[in-house]
């Protein structure tokens, strides 16, 4: 799906995707999903571009983007950490886990580290209640997280990967 992500300018890829849609204005949410996957996030300039392409007011695009928590207007880190805040995780210390992650990453939930490596978020129940409290990094689940040292080691694995090349917008 992201054939164009490797090229320097992702706009032609987005335009091609939109041009091939039979229904354009009706497909705003789908287009935003595609754009976010392509660009990583939905900055103002990109939303404006989509509005022009679909001939709809930018305010409408902005309204939709701001409504759905899936969409983000800020750049996301290479790795997205989600702390489960479901009932089981919550009673087994999800809040402590969240606080520890915030401390180690130096950011609040909803933010991204300055090196663009990690974004921290929360979600509701991923169905791994037996492992509570859990967090998910890019879809991989880590459970029974009580010890700060354990968390530090997990993050270190991701930190040792090669640096991320930022997408030029």
């Amino acid at each position: 799906m992201c054939d164009h992500a490797s090229s320097n300018d992702p706009y032609p890829g987005l335009d091609e995707y939109i041009d091939n849609l039979a229904y354009k204005k009706e497909n705003l949410i789908g287009i935003l999903h595609y754009a976010q996957e392509l660009f990583g996030y939905l900055p103002d300039k990109l939303q404006w571009h989509i509005a022009q392409k679909l001939d709809i007011p930018s305010a409408k695009v902005y309204g939709v983007v701001s409504f759905y928590s899936f969409f983000t207007m800020k750049p996301r880190g290479k790795h997205v950490i989600n702390v489960c805040m479901g009932t089981a995780c919550f009673v087994r210390g999800a809040e402590k886990l969240q606080a520890e992650l915030e401390k180690q990453l130096g950011i609040k939930t909803g933010q991204t580290t300055s090196d663009n490596l990690f974004s921290l978020d929360s979600l509701r129940c991923i169905g791994a209640c037996g492992l509570a409290p859990v967090m998910m990094i890019d879809g991989k689940v880590y459970g029974r997280l009580h010890e700060p040292e354990e968390i530090r080691q997990i993050l270190a694995e991701y930190r040792s990967e090669p640096k991320l090349a930022t997408i030029g917008l």
Partner: protein
């Protein structure tokens, strides 16, 4: 198909599909509303049922039903006045007030606010709910309106008006839940959006969240500065609406009282924008003749309305060569005051302050456009205040408006014809132009000056007028959505016209964003339009080219209409703008 139901034990028969709210109104029961606004003839129907103020009990239904958006059905038993319904409504208003500033006494909407009136009607005496209060920055970026999201109750009337009626789309609800607020794209300052400043959002906002930029203090300051020669002018639509600010019936003509009040306020000269409306006709007619002779592009579009001008600059930048280049009448009067009048009476133009009283808030923005002045320190018009602001000034000065004896405008920029006064309503500018064009092109006297086909509240009016054997195809639109419709047809080549009049506000200037609030009653606009035509009939002269003061202006100062001097003083140019 008609159906039968009862409301408060009263049996009634209404058409299927009608809402409980409208059904109740047929038997004179008013269910309170707040977000709901249905302006049938403007194609505006805001019935999102978000405020829940109109809830009623329906037998057999567990929860309360919002009357605005619940259709009636056969055998329905509705109770609007049960204790449960009354309490629920009061609770809804209390909840709205719990997150609303309590600064009513100093709010510009004080005593004209739908939320305030509702709280009074429902007997809200205390607010039992305490909780989080929203805190948003007030947008004072524009030169026309102020947006205070703290006073927004999320009724979305502004959004419906801007998106569906005007098709400008500046506003959207942003965020969700408690954080929802109506904003511009990317939270841009209003001034950086495609906003036309038509002010129809202000006209339908039930609270003080959207207001005109108040410039009354600027006027007081000029009036009390002995070094300033302060000239005032009034638009045609002001004289048929100002009376409403003093409890007079909508459609009362108060021209003479308005002039008297302006003199009492201390203006040195009281001129009439209508004079410049007659000049506009001379210029537009000459411009049209020029295009016909030199193969210029048709249709010619009117350019009196600054919101319409900003609309086409953003939305149709490829059509910038078809609108007339005429400045709007109040700008023409401003520049003529600072040139012709100043020269004739030996006044330094730099000492003159021109104040325009307009039914419009876009005129505030227009007056500040840098190209509309002779140099950066001599704008054509210095300050614009709305009909509403003038009413406030008159009250502030303690003038008993309704008791004033009629007075006349000052000579010569106060002389006008019936053709000028009809500029204030949809169809009027084109009708005025046709009265003159007919006589100029045929050399014959036009007996019947009324062009009925161009009158009334239809969104798009068309006519074919035969002049000297040539058929002129003309159209009139009001409301920017209708303007968009017709311009798109011109772009695709589906429609061909010779001249089109466009006004941004539904009904034309009588329905302007600076007029006394109509609170959803469109009959008020019709009464104002009727008054405009009545004023036209009462004028001894009804064709612009017969205005002796206008003829003297051309003879003594301007020279030929659309000549070199006319183009320098009375015409302007347009700018391509981005669509946001």
């Amino acid at each position: 198909m008609d159906i039968q139901l009862t409301i408060n034990d009263i049996p009634l028969t209404v058409p299927e599909g009608m809402s409980i709210l409208d059904a109740a109104r047929t038997i004179n029961i008013d269910i309170p509303t707040l977000c709901y606004l249905n302006l049938h003839e403007m194609n505006m129907n805001n019935h999102i049922a978000s405020c829940r103020v109109c809830v009623v009990e329906v037998e057999g239904r567990r929860n309360l039903a919002p009357a605005c958006s619940t259709p009636v059905f056969t055998g329905m038993i509705v109770k609007t006045d049960t204790l449960r319904a009354i309490r629920a409504r009061r609770t809804m208003v209390e909840l709205l007030l719990s997150d609303h500033p309590k600064s009513c006494l100093t709010c510009a909407k004080n005593l004209d606010c739908d939320l305030q009136a509702l709280a009074a009607d429902l007997g809200v005496r205390n607010i039992s709910y305490e909780g989080e209060e929203s805190e948003y920055a007030i947008d004072k970026s524009s030169l026309a309106l102020i947006r205070d999201p703290n006073k927004c109750i999320r009724c979305r009337r502004c959004e419906t008006m801007c998106n569906e009626v005007q098709t400008v789309g500046v506003f959207s609800a942003v965020g969700r839940g408690f954080e929802t607020v109506v904003k511009t794209a990317f939270d841009l300052p209003q001034h950086e959006t495609s906003c036309t400043f038509c002010g129809q959002c202000v006209a339908v906002c039930p609270t003080g969240a959207l207001m005109e930029l108040d410039q009354v203090d600027k006027v007081w300051k000029a009036l009390h500065d002995p070094t300033r020669f302060v000239v005032v002018q009034t638009a045609p639509a002001v004289r048929v609406a100002l009376g409403e600010g003093f409890g007079l019936e909508p459609g009362t003509i108060v021209t003479g009282k308005m002039v008297a009040a302006l003199r009492r306020l201390g203006f040195d000269r009281v001129f009439d924008t209508d004079f410049a409306a007659d000049v506009t006709i001379m210029e537009e007619a000459a411009e049209l003749v020029h295009r016909l002779k030199h193969g210029g592009r048709l249709p010619i579009l009117t350019s009196c309305c600054p919101a319409w001008v900003k609309f086409f600059e953003h939305q149709f930048p490829d059509l910038l060569d078809i609108p007339s280049t005429c400045k709007s009448p109040h700008q023409m009067l401003g520049v003529l005051t600072k040139s012709y009048y100043a020269q004739t009476y030996g006044i330094d133009p730099k000492q003159i302050t021109v104040v325009s009283i307009m039914p419009c808030i876009a005129k505030k923005y227009e007056a500040a456009r840098p190209e509309l002045g002779q140099d950066p320190v001599t704008p054509d018009v210095d300050v614009v205040i709305t009909t509403r602001e003038l009413a406030r000034m008159i009250r502030e000065a303690g003038i008993h408006f309704t008791k004033l004896k009629d007075e006349e405008f000052d000579h010569p920029l106060g002389e006008s014809t019936g053709a000028a006064v009809i500029f204030g309503t949809t169809g009027g500018v084109l009708e005025a132009a046709l009265r003159t064009a007919y006589e100029l092109l045929t050399g014959e006297n036009l007996e019947k000056v009324e062009f009925e086909a161009l009158r009334g509240m239809d969104g798009i009016k068309e006519a074919v007028i035969s002049i000297s054997g040539r058929d002129f195809r003309v159209a009139v639109t009001h409301g920017l959505g209708h303007a968009r419709y017709i311009l798109e047809k011109i772009q695709t080549g589906e429609a061909h016209y010779d001249a089109i009049e466009i006004m941004a506000c539904p009904g034309g200037c009588i329905g302007g964003g600076g007029q006394p609030y109509h609170h959803g009653n469109i009959e008020i606009l019709k009464a104002r339009a009727n008054a405009i035509y009545q004023e036209d009939r009462s004028k001894p002269l009804r064709k612009s080219h017969e205005n002796p003061a206008v003829l003297a202006l051309y003879k003594d100062f301007i020279g030929e209409p659309y000549g070199e001097k006319a183009r320098a003083l009375l015409h302007t140019s347009y700018t391509k703008r981005k669509k946001i």
